[in-house]
Amino acid sequence: MDDTGFNPIMAEARVNQPIVQLEDVAKTYGGAVALARVDLTVHAGEFFTLLGPSGSGKTTTLRLIAGFERPDKGKILLDGQDVATLPPFERAVNTVFQDYALFPHLTLVENVAYGLRAKKVPKPEAHAEAEKALAAVQLANFAGRKPAQLSGGQRQRVALARAMVNRPRVLLLDEPLGALDLKLRHQMQQELKRLQTETGITFIYVTHDQDEALSMSDRIAVFSQGKIEQVGTAFDLYERPASAFVADFVGNSNILGTTLLRPEKLHLVPHAHAVPEGYEKRHGIVREAVYLGAVTRTIVALEDGGTMQVMEANIVPVHGALRFVPGDSVTVAWPRSACAVIGGEYNKGEQ
């Protein structure tokens, strides 16, 4: 064990060895389909994210892995063993809950030692380990307090320490940062990523926030209506989405037929201005222009119908007036290499 209180798994374990596998898993709640049919493989040591809108099945998938729900059919393999019928207390996974689920009647050290006590670790040792785990999340001085005396961010860290102190094979995180403000959320994203890298524990992370998913994950599964639309790296999802849903849900998109154009890859030039060799273009009229600090978002109503969204970095300071304002005639231009084909065979990625 190192001085963070967590036991790092050896790096050799991270050679694409499956740790969690879902095979043909389905789940309905009283007729309502939560998961239609899901096949999924998570590798040991991965930061794996389940991304999707609410009701897409991502949380159900997490709860199935944790053991809070039983699948209607299919296998859930943990380290190759089917655990679909095992109760949560017999699975070597731990969960960080969305509402943290800290025990309000117990002190922080008792909360963190809870899982060790369940494993019959004697109290003095369990508390000593719990205190180390609290120190690892910068809460060493709070061991004797109750959860009600903490801020949201502190509670979040206790929930993390409480789960990780058990050195689970897999850590399940159910939108753990949803209740935090933006600054704190960004800080915790880095913190989580750091902990995951240091400990080598497999993280399965549920979120509806695509920025969060892109910034933290080794791989991401995009869920929609109880099915997985695509599994891949952040690059795969953003640059080569497998479906229009993924293209639209992950980032902003302009979709022309089966062609995807990301707004930041487009340029705006005055109307009928010459464009370089190898560029495509469309003419239109600016309908909306919004200054967002780092970028300016311009919506252009195209001559041949439809609209396009353009994001331009504000490389030079903007003083008072934007380059284009509503009513201006403009040309939208992009290099052909910026086009991606939605759902091209090469996009499917590995499932």
Binding site: A66, P88, F89, N94, D99, A101, L102, Y114, A118, N166
Partner: protein, 292 residues
């Protein structure tokens, strides 16, 4: 501007005035009726009665309390009252838990409503009717012994005894335990039970380490009901207790009505107040009021 709007506006500008108006009536009721009555009870307990005329003699005398603690009779009655109140409370805790837990955690919305109604319906019928019904059930030739004989078991002789009082009180006050326990179980977020299982605790360990401590305030609230309601009762002992099973309340009743020794009745009535005070102190020690 209408009068009610004028008042609302005044209350908004002067929140202190609004609070005074809202709290005034309960405060008046509490101090005027409740505290004054207890004060009168305490004061009267130190008075005496003129043996010949039967007139009350105000003053400060400990003679009533001396009489209470001098002989074994009043002590035995007090111990019987407190003992049965404690037994009823423990019985109701044991009976209420499975009902409350099933109602909140296991039953669907429809079954829960049915169970809730089943718990409450007895409270709509007369207390006396229910106690008389039990008298008929438990008497020597009653329903219980008839049923025992029908299935070939020997009769039991629990009518008009402490056993009968224990059973009837436990039945009477059970809803007052089920409802607060159910309310406190309902307030436990389901995610806490999932977290406990997730961290490796089995069902019963989760119950002992999470559900029970978190529902303690509800249990104590129920215990305050069952304990104090039993402590103050004198009708059930009269109807199902039979000879030699007097409660404190029966002694108070006979001293007010028959013997006309109101100061002695007052002194004996102070005793349950003291017992309840001790009860509440223990409950606080257990942390039952930490959440308030």
């Amino acid at each position: 501007m209408s009068l009610s709007r004028a008042f609302s506006a005044l209350g908004w500008r002067r929140p202190g005035m609004a609070n005074t108006a809202l709290l005034g009536l309960p405060a008046l009721w509490f101090s005027g009726l409740y505290l004054a009555a207890i004060g009168a009870l305490l004061v009267t307990s130190f008075w005496t009665v003129d043996d010949l005329s039967g007139n009350l003699i105000p003053g400060f005398s400990l003679v009533n309390f001396q009489q209470l603690f001098s002989g074994p009779v009043y002590i035995r009655i007090a111990l019987r009252t407190i003992g049965i109140a404690a037994a009823v409370t423990i019985t109701d805790v044991i009976l209420a838990w499975p009902v409350a837990y099933a109602m909140i955690r296991l039953a669907g919305p429809r079954l829960r409503a049915v169970m809730m109604a089943a718990v409450m319906v007895p409270l709509w019928s007369s207390y006396l009717a229910r106690v008389y019904a039990w008298r008929l059930i438990l008497s020597h030739n009653g329903l219980l012994n008839w049923a025992l004989m029908e299935i070939g078991l020997p009769r039991v002789h629990i009518g008009y005894s402490n056993w009968a009082m224990w059973i009837v009180f436990s039945y009477l006050w059970l809803p007052f335990m089920i409802l607060p326990v159910a309310a406190s179980v309902e307030r436990i977020p389901p995610s806490l039970l999932e977290a406990s299982a997730d961290l490796g605790m089995r069902g019963f360990a989760t119950f002992r380490r999470v559900v029970l401590p978190m529902a303690l305030p509800g249990m104590v609230a129920g215990a305050i009901f069952t304990f104090s309601l039993t402590l103050g009762d004198y009708v059930t002992p009269m109807l199902v207790g039979g000879v030699g099973s007097d409660f404190i309340g029966n002694v108070v009743y006979s001293n007010v009505g028959v013997t006309n020794n109101i100061p002695f009745a007052a002194a004996y009535a102070v005793l349950p107040l003291g017992v309840m005070a001790v009860f509440l102190l223990i409950a606080r020690k257990l942390g039952a009021f930490d959440a308030l």
